[in-house]
């Protein structure tokens, strides 16, 4: 009995310091960043955030969820800043007065990937809408994120454009997981799916699926930062959010984004777009 007491006492004492740190950090030096899984799974934030923290002394709490959930967190004032890629939802968010200063950070593109055998015969088709139609017609297995993420929103928009019924169909599966795990599922099931290029490239070594449709204008994947509106949620760390947003658009961060992934994948995963206009992208 004594030994257990000692055992726990040691843990308890050693954690004393740890709690102090905890409380110091629970101050205005904290920024809660709600973002998509793709920025984390690709490893980009692991590079950017340490640079930011070292430079400014802020501590960034990255909560990597789907864009839908990230925006929902912003709508409740539970995040200070959003880095998301779901333009339609973002516009609604801005119209609702939840956010300030929605600014373009970077883009990459979505790609449709699938098994090499390509049962739906979509390889090389320029129009994503037609490719999706063929997947539906051939009833080839399609794996959806199903989690209201930016990728899921894009996927639904494309399905809507095709006009085919897909929800509840036998060939249409929803994982409800992040991009990385969804790719794993699609690869195991030899199914079609839509993904951002960044996550695909960073997982490529494990994923046995080929890029089948790419380069369509509809497949543009655009990331914005949005500061959560402090007048609406007084507890939001507006100052920190502003500093972070400015950092993301700074030359330093943009240069990191520009070169990120080249050494590992041979091509960049994201393209920096500070002070560009959405209309000019992909041209």
């Amino acid at each position: 009995m004594k030994k257990i007491v000692i055992f726990f006492a040691v843990i308890f004492i050693s954690s004393g310091i740890f709690f102090q740190i905890n409380y110091i950090l629970a101050s205005e030096k904290n920024i809660i960043l709600a973002t998509t899984t793709s920025t984390q799974d690709s490893g980009l934030l692991d590079v950017l955030i340490p640079v930011f923290e070292k430079k400014t002394g802020y501590f960034v709490k990255t909560i990597a969820v789907g864009s839908g959930q990230a925006i929902a967190m912003g709508q409740k004032g539970e995040a200070d800043i959003l880095l998301v890629h779901s333009p339609e939802d973002e516009k609604k968010f801005m119209e609702g007065g939840y956010g300030l200063n929605r600014r373009l950070v970077m883009h990459n593109d979505f790609i449709v990937i699938g098994p090499r055998a390509d049962p739906a015969k979509i390889k090389g088709i320029k129009s994503t809408v037609i490719a999706f139609e063929r997947i539906a017609q051939s009833k080839s297995l399609f794996i959806s994120r199903g989690d209201n993420s930016g990728t899921h929103a894009k996927e639904k928009a494309i399905w809507k454009a095709t006009g085919v019924k897909y929800e509840g169909e036998k060939w249409y599966h929803e994982t409800g997981l992040g991009m990385g795990q969804t790719l794993n599922v699609a690869s195991e099931k030899r199914a079609y799916t839509i993904t951002d290029r960044g996550t695909y490239l960073s997982l490529k070594k494990r994923i046995d699926l080929d890029v089948l449709t790419e380069g369509d204008a509809i497949l543009l994947n655009i990331y914005h930062v949005i500061e959560v509106n402090q007048t609406r949620f007084p507890k939001v760390n507006a100052a920190g959010a502003r500093v972070f947003a400015n950092f993301m658009l700074s030359r330093e961060a943009q240069d990191i984004i520009k070169t990120f992934g080249i050494d590992k994948f041979g091509s960049p995963l994201f393209f920096p777009d500070a002070s560009k206009r959405v209309e000019d992208l992909g041209k």
């Binding site: 009995m1 030994k3 257990i4 954690s15 950090l25 990255t62 992040g178 949620f233």
Partner: protein, 232 residues
Amino acid sequence: MELILEGIKKAFTLLFMLDREVLDITFLSLKVSGIATMISVFIGVSTGATIALNEFPGKRVVVSFVNTGMGVPPVVVGLFVTIFLWRNGPLGFLGILYTPLAIIIAQAIIATPIVMGITIAAMQQLPKKLRLQILALGASRLQMVWMLIKEARMSLLAAVMAGFGGVISEIGASIMVGGNIKGYSRVLTTATVMETSKGNFDVAIALSIILLLLAYSINLILTHIQQKERPR
């Protein structure tokens, strides 16, 4: 198969190279789950003993609630703790969501019913006359309870192991209330999920092996204590 071997190799490389990040994650897991278990032992054993040693109306209902609590999914606890700790939630003023402290709270809530349930069963299993005997020897009520706890220590250690095992391996609550923040609230289970979704299966396997080793060594220590002090 090759992947598993690769993972095992990776686990030992990470351990023996004393990889800073992996060590930090491992220590954080140990700390968070250790403290959570300790809190749950404190609350669970005291409350459990009180429930077991007293007769009161509705006792069965209370015990059945505790027993149900033993099986509450961590993700449910995670959800409710998150809602309470939100900035604009009832306990938002504390500002502790997405901290290791939040994970401790959630894990303590998960482990408490486990410890309490086993404590109740253990105390009720003691011979009824033992209490009278201890009291007859002139012990105060508090001393009597302490004697009974000592008498039931084998089962109580099992309660500690069950509680610790429940929280160290738990993921649903940790990821929700902790946020899996790098170098801050990332624990072994949440790191494993993240590495899996990043496609780094070797690292994920390595983290799982470390988790298993950790759980095993803690249980080895506790089992050692339990078996050594075998009564009579």
